[in-house]
């Protein structure tokens, strides 16, 4: 069995890497906290706005 989530979220603006943010971080937008193939448990974060 599988679960597919499709959702709308703000894109935000890319924050400079030099500013101390992790690469790909988007300020005010959606950011993932997962990797492909990763084991995850209910309640852990997939990402955040």
């Amino acid at each position: 069995s599988s679960i597919v989530l499709v959702f709308e979220a703000p894109v935000g603006t890319r924050k400079s890497f030099d500013a101390g943010w992790e690469e790909g971080h988007r300020e005010g937008g959606w950011n993932w906290n997962i990797e492909k193939g990763q084991r995850i448990k209910m309640g852990e974060r997939l990402g955040y706005v």
């Binding site: 499709v6 990763q38 997939l46």
Partner: protein, 423 residues
């Protein structure tokens, strides 16, 4: 004879499993061909549609290696139902603990997390499979900006949806329309029809909903997914819910969701969100046989409708996902559609051969992997074909009257929504 019996060496050889699968596939292939021939003959003779003998929905012609081709000819849903029945057989008391411990060892179940530590209390594998966990073993991430994992599992895919397409595996994509359905049955007359269904048996209700869907489809009144994303709730709000009358009203959930939605940009939740800076994202989570199989709400949101796609029940193992394009758009699934603070939100549990039953706690009338709903879908498909139209592929029901102010069923962060059951 005695000499022969005592002195003849007997050797046993297993019949290859592939031979058995091939035979079943061949029989199913001939059966499908015969049904198709009979249907063509009936059509040629100009017979009217007989709902007592509804032809099954035509199966998709699948591309892929021979294993996939053979699998597509098998009666997967019947096999899944049989598997479910088998697992509901009560196990002898003294076999339960060793049996469940063996299962846990093979599939990696952590028995320390199980809510009921006495394994004797689970009468069969189906009950153990749908086990609850101890309170507190799955703490929710404290960051309220986060989307939480809805279940235990493995992340298969995630990313941004571009041009309305979702990537299943690398290089294989399917459209969002195919996954969630495009046209939404929607008509002002719908309200009365749905409201009249209160308290009726599920089977009758399902058939009526099908009739409603057909009615709306016939009248060509619908809105597309982009319209839904843009926040056009006008038509949708005219539809009415009847399907969760058994669900108690939850003031706390409503208050939490309402407060959270209002935080988005200060506008009321139902106001169209500015979509210019928004995008659609997706994530696919695979639940292995040993995983906890109940699923939860990842955010505070409002479920406005559900679409039941009575499709096939292929395995969703990573192997088949690599070899069967559009697997998620073929399998039986329940797409729950609604809104969260940033706009559109959908949650789609997809069934598989061994785990064919999808349960949604607040939808008592939903029946998945059921012969009744399959027949109802076949009827709708046949009726649509008779009118020369394309069957939309799903039956839709709405929850718009489930809440006093939100126009849907509110769900709290981390709240249990339902689960997958064996067979």
């Amino acid at each position: 004879l005695r000499f022969a019996l005592h002195n003849t060496k007997v050797e046993w050889y297993p019949i290859p499993v592939g031979l058995g699968i091939g035979l079943l596939g061949l029989l199913q292939f001939y059966k499908a061909q015969r049904a198709e021939r009979e249907r063509a003959e009936r059509e040629a003779a100009g017979e009217s549609l007989d709902f007592e003998k509804v032809p099954p929905r035509p199966k998709h012609r699948l591309s892929g290696p021979w294993q996939v081709q053979i699998m597509s000819t098998l009666p997967l849903k019947a096999m899944s139902r049989l598997w479910g029945r088998f697992n509901e057989i009560e196990l002898p008391y003294y076999l339960r603990v060793p049996g469940f411990k063996l299962y846990s060892w093979v599939f990696g179940v952590n028995l320390d997390e199980v809510a009921e530590p006495d394994l004797h209390t689970y009468p069969n594998l189906a009950a153990f499979f749908y086990r609850k966990l101890k309170p507190g073993v799955r703490p929710l991430d404290p960051d309220t900006r986060a989307i939480l994992a809805p279940s235990d599992g493995r992340i298969l895919q995630f990313g941004l949806i571009e041009r309305g397409e979702v990537e299943q595996v690398k290089g294989v994509t399917y459209s969002l329309d195919a996954l969630l359905g495009a046209a939404t049955p929607n008509h002002a007359d719908h309200t009365d029809k749905f409201t009249d269904h209160q308290g009726e048996p599920a089977q009758k209700n399902e058939a009526k909903m099908l009739a409603d869907a057909e009615f709306a489809k016939m009248n060509g009144i619908s809105y597309t997914l982009p319209t839904l994303l843009a926040g056009d709730q006008g038509g949708a709000r005219q539809r009415s819910a009847s399907i969760d009358a058994s669900t108690p009203y939850k003031a706390s959930a409503e208050a939490e969701v309402k407060a959270d939605l209002a935080r988005g940009d200060g506008a009321p939740w139902y106001a169209p969100k500015p979509t210019s800076n928004n995008a659609l994202y997706y994530v696919v989570i695979y639940l292995a046989p040993g995983d906890y199989h109940r699923f939860h709400s990842p955010v505070p949101w409002v479920v406005q409708s559900r679409r039941h796609f009575a499709g096939e029940l292929f395995s969703v193992s990573p192997y088949l996902q690599r070899h069967l394009p559009g697997l998620f758009t073929l399998n039986e699934r329940v797409a729950l559609l609604g809104r969260w603070r940033w706009g559109f939100f959908s949650y789609t549990p997809v069934g598989a051969t061994n785990v064919g039953s999808i349960k949604v706690n607040f939808d008592a009338e939903l029946r998945t992997n059921s012969l009744t709903t399959d027949t109802a879908a076949d009827m709708a498909a046949a009726a649509a074909a008779k009118r020369g139209e394309q069957y939309p592929g799903f039956v839709e029901a709405t929850y718009l009257h489930a809440s006093r102010t939100l126009g849907g069923h509110p769900l709290q962060r981390g709240e249990e929504m339902g689960g997958f059951q064996l067979g």
